[in-house]
Symmetry: C2
Subunit: 412 residues, 2 copies
């Protein structure tokens, strides 16, 4: 199928975005609810389109196939995601703040859509509907550049949303799928200056590196999560055990899973053997002090401490005090989510103040750093950069502010 060139797609998305920006909440919600119903009505078509993608994937690895695979339950969950986004309050038009200057000028900061959001992502068809739903609700157009491996699934999902837009009388090009999945077009996509207001890459290190090197449009990086759990001298060790097990094993392949365990020297001999038992099935790699307490485990290299395993694997170190734990995290952490388990108020406050990350957790699992768990309905990613957004990104992170200034003829 021949599709328009990228510039033309971008032009159409921008025009559609101008309409979306002034579309009332009720109409946007109607699109999301209709799209949700269409996804469910067309589950057969979606699964057969997804089957074609799976056939082409053939002998790819299990985790990759799992991310690509749609099932009836997953389609129902995608529809549910759209309904949850529809139920969220509309951020557009919110007056963030306002004040009056001594000369009588009244300044309001009003939340407005960003315009056109670009998403570049790998084989996950559910990202297609999640991202489209969030962007539309926040009044933006969206250009989706998925992977060639998921192209049939993405076409089928995008068709549902575009059909919903058409039924509500809104421009279908508010949701545009870039069907040319060549590398050259991906680079061109990252350089659509003046056309894309915000580019969000979702994928592995190679994609993020390519975006850092090539992108000339503003970006928000959804980076990796080398997350730590630090068990303090004053920790409730039962609580610590439950948190470590949950953070490591509840879903090891995601960015907010723990990759590294730090244990205060004074509780290490008591805690580590219990942790080893509770983490059965998890490969442990320890520093010398850990290896001395847990004979038989492998030795952790500096590279291991710097690695996001995304697997049932955990690096472990014993630290002399909380300062050493904070330094270790400053050296190896990726600024995603860092947890301390402690009953000591001063330790909790110091950890929260000094650890530089999107999220710092006291006595809770790192797995809670997530748009859904934060109450955002859904998320378009978890920012590990500091500009614009940090941590889980929901509807509000897909907007910016406009300053509206009212006077009665003031001049300087």
């Amino acid at each position: 199928m021949s599709t328009p060139p990228l510039d033309e797609l971008a032009r159409r998305a921008r025009e559609a975005g101008r309409v979306l920006a002034r579309t009332p909440t009720a109409a946007k919600d109607e699109v999301l609810l209709l799209a949700a119903s269409l996804l469910e009505d067309r589950v057969g078509e979606l699964l057969s389109a997804n089957g074609r993608d799976l056939d082409r994937a053939g002998d790819a690895g299990g985790a990759q196939l799992d991310r690509l695979r749609l099932t009836e339950a997953r389609v129902v969950s995608m529809a549910g995601g759209l309904r949850q986004v529809a139920a969220q309050p509309d951020p557009v038009g919110q007056v963030v703040e306002g004040w009056v200057r001594p000369n009588g000028l009244r300044i309001h900061r009003v939340r407005v859509p960003l315009g056109v959001i670009g998403i570049i992502y790998e084989n996950r068809p559910n990202v297609t509907s999640d991202a489209a739903g969030l962007c539309l609700k926040a009044g933006n157009a969206i250009m989706l550049r998925g992977s060639s491996g998921a192209i049939d699934s993405n076409r089928a999902v995008v068709a549902c949303v575009r059909d919903a837009l058409a039924k509500v009388g809104l421009p279908v090009d508010a949701v545009v799928l870039v069907e040319d999945t060549s590398h050259a077009t991906a680079v061109k996509f990252m350089q659509l200056e003046g056309a894309i207001d915000c580019l969000i890459p979702r994928g592995g290190p190679a994609l993020l590196d390519s975006v850092r090197r090539h992108a000339t449009v503003p970006t928000v990086i959804d980076g990796d999560g080398n997350c730590h759990v630090y068990v303090d001298a004053a920790a409730d060790l039962d609580m610590a055990l439950a948190i470590v097990v949950n953070a490591k094993t509840q879903r090891p392949g995601v960015c907010n899973a723990a990759e590294s365990l730090l244990v205060h020297r004074s509780v290490a001999a008591d805690f580590l053997p219990r942790a080893q038992l509770a983490l059965e099935g998890v490969e442990l790699l320890g520093d010398p002090a850990t290896c001395a307490l847990l004979p038989g485990i492998g030795a952790a290299t500096a590279e291991d401490f710097a690695t996001e395993f995304l697997d049932l694997k955990l690096s472990v170190a014993v630290v002399g005090d909380i300062g050493e734990a904070i330094d270790h995290i400053a050296r190896y952490g990726s600024g995603h989510s860092e947890a301390i388990v402690t009953a000591d108020l001063a330790a909790a406050e110091r950890f929260a103040a000094e650890v530089d990350a999107a999220a710092v957790l006291v006595n809770a699992s790192t797995r809670f750093v997530d748009g859904g768990e934060f109450g955002f309905g859904a998320e378009i990613g978890i920012s590990t950069q500091k500009l614009h957004a940090r941590g889980p990104m929901g509807l509000r992170e897909l907007t910016c502010v406009k300053q509206v200034i009212h006077g009665e003829g003031q001049v300087r």
Copy 2:
């Protein structure tokens, strides 16, 4: 003079930034007040350093020399700027919002410094003290990469701030001047990933283009201002005249000066001849309808309408209605500051809603879009991008948020 390599400067700034991040407001304010006094005490040294820069500049253009030149009054004004920043409330530690999740987790979003700010700028020594003051107050370290043309002035200004840091017992490398002003080092500066948390370029189109092409660190673009004043059918024409004259002539070389005048057809014959008289000394370039009303002025090309003159020059067009004015701005505007003069509520509301710019003004001059005029004490730039910051950037725009999450052992 030999200075450490860029990587080493960046390492020192990052270490200093970690200290600044937990420095109490009183100590940061003390640094700013001391630095202000040192600037005044050393005015002789500053002027002689500046004299060396001016000598080297030799036969450069007048506007460029004017930006580079320091006078006693300008040094006093730089010191005053530091005192104003010291008087501003400290954004660090502010709890932006907080809520409790159904599972009992308490989430706070707390304002924290960005870390290390990089500034790359042209021949303006006052930017050196303004930027250093704002960054320090917001708890950040700053790396200043000024131009070779202002290197002696910048060294003298930076010495005042570093001496003030030392006197208060804070690390002097919280303010670092990159003395190697080669292009290669500038590019390396834009690619200090993991070292610079936010890069803010301040300069002309060539610098901004270079940053867009080369930067791999997060950036906030302080772009150009092709600002319009639209005189509506329902405008008070006396007010319109005062606003146009102020927006164009009060300081034509700055980004929030007006570059283009749009006039509703129904008032053009009345307004334009009066505007021509009031704008004596300003070169007008008109569309055909304007030229018919103002014989003798030059014809404006599409390129003129797209140009930020930064000079006593104004493009003028007659529009059929407010929709045409909004379309003209969407086509030619740079998203900086756009003004409407009108007594019609519906026109004011439509203009404010539909014009996509950092600031939209109703019955006020575009010249008010400025950190000082907004009440921010000073500004580090005016963002024309939508991510992170939009419009005048003060202390708050030099911070980000950290999510601090408290639980009692919650797991998923």
